[in-house]
């Protein structure tokens, strides 16, 4: 039983990792959900074998309740944050009609500036960086 659960955890983690590495936010959300399930399953697994109850007499075997309480808390938290991520994806759709996670614009500008600097070394009082930014501002106000 616990070998099966361990296998499930591994599968959830690997699928989740694959999906999180995608560029579409909708896939990332599913990936994060799978990763969360994997982690929660792992918490459940940590209870180990059934054993003697903690607080009441010796009447049969009981599972350790603490990991279940921990997993419940973790599930609520993951659920809430996933909803927030979905709301963010929707907002991204509203403002840009796309849910792709984009590169850092400033980073790309700085990389572009380096290339432009190499290309136009003689024309050095010309501020390529600001021009690039103006163009970008023009395209995406």
């Amino acid at each position: 039983m616990s070998l099966l659960l361990a296998f499930c955890t591994a599968t959830l983690f690997s699928l989740g990792t694959y999906l999180v590495l995608q560029r579409r936010l909708s896939r990332i959300v599913i990936g994060v959900g799978l990763l969360g399930h994997g982690a929660n399953l792992m918490l459940m697994l940590s209870a180990g074998e059934r054993g003697r109850p903690v607080f009441i007499g010796d009447e049969g075997d009981f599972t350790d309740p603490l990991p279940q309480a921990l997993a419940l808390t973790a599930i609520v938290i993951t659920f809430g944050v996933t909803i927030f991520l979905l709301a963010l994806a929707y907002r991204s759709w509203v403002v840009s009609h796309d849910d792709e996670v984009e590169d850092d614009v400033e980073d790309r500008l700085i990389a572009a500036r380096l290339e432009a600097d190499r290309a136009t070394e003689e024309n050095d009082d010309h501020d390529v960086y600001d021009d690039e930014h103006d163009q970008l501002d023009g395209v995406q106000p």
Binding site: V32, L35, I77, L85, S96, D130
Partner: protein, 497 residues
Amino acid sequence: MNDLIILPVALPLLGAGVCILVGRSRTAQRVVSITTLVAVVVLSVWMVLDVDANGTLVTQAGGWQAPIGITLVADRFAAMMLAISAIVLLAVLVYAVGQRDAEGTHVGFHPVYLVLSAGVASSFLTGDLFNLFVSFEVMLTASYVLITLGGTKAQVRAGMTYVVISLLASTLFLAALAITYMATGTVNMADLSGRIAELPEGLRSALGLLLIVVFGVKAALFPLYFWLPDSYPTAPSPVTAVFAGLLTKVGVYAIIRSQTLLIPAADRAGTVLLVVAALTMLVGVFGAISQNDVKRVLSFHIVSQIGYMIMGLGLFTIAGLAGALLYIIHHIIVKTTLFLTAGLIEHTGRTGRLARIGGIARKLPILAAVFLIPALSLAGIPPFSGFVAKLALVSAGLDAGEYVVVGISLVVSLLTLFSMTKIWAGAFWGESHGDDGQELIVEGRLGTPRTMTLATASLAALSIAIAIASGPLYRFSERAAEDLLHPARYVMEVLGR
């Protein structure tokens, strides 16, 4: 007496509830949240004095004895972090009220801000690894809301990166918790302190490294820092300031706490931490030099400065840890001040882009002074607090014989000064002009909104006070570092044996 340590967590949560109830009146919200934070500041400063004089404060939630109940502990380190963070949270709130940008347009600002402060306080006070996870989530969820408050395109893009990376770290944290519980049967940190030492060696080092990775994402350590300069600059200025000052330092706090309390002395990854620290410093400062926007330069500096704190930890000596603690205290204040001045620069020049603004020093000498104090302090120029903190770290490093990392830290200081000069030359010197050659916005006697300038100036004054009081503060840090390196005392206070 001991039970009072729940208040820095409970009061802001209560305040957040009241803020939602009085959501229709912004004035009432302001009164509630400022009163709450003033109370937390008073309480936490009292806690620092009391803990220093009478020893660690411990309380068990619900009256269940540790390791069954959830433990809250305020030792010297936790109390100090709590006090500094409360002061910074209050100052930034006053600034936000003065700015009225995000604070004025969103009903949710005050409640979420108070929840954030409850999360930060709870992260410092908790003595339970799972409760640390919950506190992190409280703090992070509040920060997700604050960072995307405007809902603009840039904020949504930056928010996505931030939320996804934080969620990944949280999932890893959960996995680490599961492994911990599986191996030891407890999540109470004091209880874990003894039990981890009994585990097989492979499991111990796996657990130690997993915790460094989890907290390293939050603290923005070298290979895991890339989300920070991407996501911080787009948020409203007060929000960026409080994130820059506090959130990464909560990660650093968790690293220091877990490495000293949980990991047995024989397993401490000192060399790994020193290498990571050196790389964090270098990469951060080179990133900062290549940037062209005030907030982005400062964001990369956060990364670079985290390296100094980890360097102090990596030495694992009392002097090193004391230096790291002093550095954290100085850094929280100075970094927040710098981001607040960046907000003021953006306000006066309409943009934070260095190529497009200039000459602020001529029109607004007060703003220039308020920028110059924390900027020189960050670089470690003698009369300021950064010099004292760096001196403590460098001398600790030399005592421990780690010459390479000390050399790197000194070079990084010089490069920090260079990139601060870049902001100074770009924004404060030259002809006075704002974005697209427009006039600078100068209003009132101070030149900028009075409340914003006063909040920033009082934090700058506090950083000078740190430099003046550095003797007593260093001795306090030494006592705190001694507590950290001898976890037996902490364990005895919590478990009573």
